[in-house]
């Protein structure tokens, strides 16, 4: 403790704690952030408690939904399957609960994967400039030129159908956004005087990139990623719905809606006969994506120095 000015203690203010307090205050002020955070926290709890809420049969892959028969016609909620069954008698409740884990896995792996590739390419491209930049950015433009879902579908077909390949394909189509954002930030920061100063004290290019540019440039990318997780899950669900993702019976919301494709129109005279087969997984996808998008906004409010102090 340093004492200056008589007995006033200067060092008693801890910046980290002040910062945390400020962020908490910021979150409390905006109801949408609270909703977003509570949705995601709720889903995290669901994912952790999945084996308790929907215990898998011992010895079986827990991600495969249990099936209660061979009839293709979905059954309404009953004692055995509390939210009913979908085509092939798969348990909807079980599928939705374990689907949370699948959603987190796909969303986070895809986002982190494409973020890492994007940061790497954006950093190198922005830092070195010139021909390297030109080549790398034209390649990203090529990826941009083709609609995302179509390109992802083509890649999945090329690699073979399956959830892992959907993840790979989404990473391949996802990185250009991050690369561009990162490059823009690097271009701005590499002209700052402190980069010149770092070079003047003998830092190598690698050190300047990793220690001086990256920490200054990464915030917009992180915010972007947090806002993107929802969309990525949505796109992965779409691919599953189209039959490119997980095999039938896998606990994946997109694939579950795909199973209900034939039953969306219901029976003649009763269009809502099989509502539970598509509404329930649909609600899960909807709230999950909503939660991430709201959380992304909350992150931006917390981290973006231009917006936060207003």
């Amino acid at each position: 403790m340093v004492k200056l000015l008589g007995s006033v203690e200067i060092e008693s203010v801890k910046p980290l704690i002040m910062e945390l307090k400020f962020i908490l205050k910021r979150i409390r002020q905006s109801p949408l952030s609270i909703i977003g955070i509570s949705i995601i926290v709720f889903y995290i709890i669901l994912a952790i408690l999945a084996p308790v809420l929907a215990p898998p049969e011992p010895g079986r892959d827990p991600y495969i939904m249990p099936s209660y028969g061979i009839s293709p016609v979905p059954k309404p909620p009953s004692k055995q399957a509390i939210w009913g069954t979908t085509e092939g008698q798969y348990d909807i409740y079980y599928g939705c609960i374990w689907g949370v884990r699948t959603a987190f896995r796909t969303g986070i792996i895809i986002t982190v994967g494409s973020m890492i590739i994007g940061i790497l390419i954006g950093c190198i491209s922005g830092y070195y400039g010139g021909k390297v930049d030109e080549i790398m950015m034209r390649i990203t433009d090529m990826f941009y030129a083709i609609p995302t879902i179509v390109l992802a579908m083509a890649i999945v077909v090329l690699l073979g159908i399956g959830l892992d390949n959907v993840i790979k394909a989404m990473i391949i189509v996802g990185w250009p956004t991050y690369a561009r954002l990162m490059r823009a930030e690097v271009l701005r920061i590499k002209n700052e005087d402190y980069i010149e100063a770092a070079r003047a004290i003998g830092c190598s290019d690698f050190r300047i990139m990793v220690k001086h540019i990256l920490p200054n440039a990464i915030y917009p990318v992180i915010i972007m990623a947090s806002m993107n997780i929802g969309n990525v899950v949505l796109a992965a669900s779409a691919l599953s719905f189209l039959g490119l993702g997980s095999p039938a019976g896998y606990a994946d919301w997109g694939a579950m809606i795909a199973l209900s494709r034939n039953w969306i129109l219901g029976l003649p005279g009763n269009p809502l006969a099989f509502w539970h087969t598509y509404i329930i997984p649909g609600l899960f996808i909807f709230t999950f994506v909503l939660g991430w998008n709201l959380l992304g906004d909350a992150f931006r409010d917390m981290l973006d120095p231009l917006i936060r102090r207003r």
Binding site: Y194, A200, C203, K211, H212
Partner: protein, 384 residues
């Protein structure tokens, strides 16, 4: 005639390849810097002072290229022409033998790191080995005094890693080992050693309460304190040469005086040679031993500071001295503007603005000739 130069620049030519054309920013600039002296470089904005300074460190900003010339820097292996060396070698030179202080102290500090850590970075880049050795000594000392055999085992593990680092400072294995628990104590030890040195340097810079400043971020410091921190960064490894690129231009007058005093004191204490770039002739008179006057990418006069003020020979130097505002006299400026360096005037670059311009000035480029003890002029009017 040159005494014992620590820096020698010969026929330096720098050009900028822009969309509008080739900017001939520096044309055949030659000068030298003696050990322990302060060389001032004066000139108008855009005459190539800063480009010269950056080119001497081979940090020429982007569209610029060093086309020709030699830049010798005195290192432990004697004078080395750095224009022939590769980037790896330059990284070793920069910060250790030659360093630079920029104009805007706030912008030269990375906003994300503590002041102390930024200075520590310089030391860790250039003096790593030194700190590893010091850490090794401390560990060996500790091992002797340690009674518990378990702790002694940990310490000897740390000693092993430390020896690995001394043998090969870039060893990947050792840097991974440093991150492991138990061994990471060594890392803390090294950091502690560096920290002590940084605090000493900060104290030398006249910063009050250096332990506290170490943990502060750049935005928490005032302009003068920031500039002191930047100078600390530049001088951390005791470089032979320090380039100060208008370090006081953005500070107010009282702080400016303090920083100038600091530079003076440090020069005497450390014996560094300084290149001081400014457009303020008052500062030159106060601080420098010799002055080089630059105009449009050429050096037009070099002399010791008394000669420049008493006996200026080049018309541009005279005009520059006359344009210092003085009480009771009307403002006087040099008519015309600095020429466009894409198409510089032929012959002497100053002739369109020169009162004494002759026919020869339009045709021939004047060479720098010796006119007296330590006095060189590039003008057709002057004969050696």
């Amino acid at each position: 005639m040159e005494g014992n130069p620590v820096l020698k620049v010969e026929n330096l030519v720098v050009r900028f390849y822009t969309y509008e054309g080739v900017v001939k920013a520096i044309e055949k600039v030659s000068f030298f810097l003696r050990e322990g002296e302060v060389l001032g470089i004066v000139g108008e904005t855009g005459c190539g002072k800063s480009v010269t300074a950056l080119s001497v460190m081979r940090l020429t900003p982007h569209p610029g290229r060093i086309e020709n010339g030699e830049v010798y820097i005195k290192t432990d292996d004697g004078l080395v022409n750095i224009l022939e060396k590769d980037e790896k070698y330059l990284e070793k030179i920069r910060g250790r033998y030659i360093s630079i202080v920029f104009q805007e102290p706030g912008a030269a500090l990375n906003p994300l790191y503590k002041i102390g850590d930024q200075i520590a970075e310089v030391l860790l880049i250039h003096r790593r080995l030194n700190y590893y050795k010091r850490a090794l000594k401390v560990i060996e000392d500790k091992i002797w005094r340690e009674n518990s055999s378990f702790k002694r085992r940990i310490l000897s593990m740390q000693r092993k890693v430390c020896k690995m680092l001394i043998e090969n400072p870039n060893s990947t294995l050792a840097s991974i080992l440093l991150k492991l628990p138990l061994i990471s104590g060594l890392k803390k030890l090294i950091e502690q050693e560096v920290r002590e040195d940084v605090i000493m340097i900060l104290r030398d810079m006249g910063l009050p309460d250096p332990e506290r400043v170490y943990n502060m971020y750049p935005h928490e410091l005032s302009g003068g304190m920031k500039q002191r921190a930047v100078i600390a960064m530049a001088l951390a490894c005791n470089p032979k040469i320090m380039i100060a690129d208008e370090p006081t231009t953005n500070l107010d007058v009282t702080i400016q005086a303090q920083i100038l005093q600091l530079i003076k004191d440090l020069r005497e204490k450390l014996g560094s040679s300084i290149i001081y770039i400014t457009h303020d002739l008052g500062v030159i008179a106060e601080l420098c031993d010799r002055v080089a006057v630059m105009y449009a990418g050429n050096i037009c006069e070099v002399a010791n500071v008394y000669e420049i003020f008493k006996n200026p020979l080049h018309p541009y130097t005279k005009a520059l001295l006359e344009s210092i505002p003085r009480p009771g006299r009307p403002f006087k400026s040099i008519p015309g503007t600095i020429p466009n360096l894409i198409n510089p005037p032929p012959g002497c670059r100053f002739h369109p603005r020169c009162k004494y311009a002759m026919d020869k000035c339009r045709r021939e480029v004047p060479r720098l000739i010796k006119v007296g003890e330590d006095h060189y002029v590039a003008c057709h009017l002057v004969r050696g």
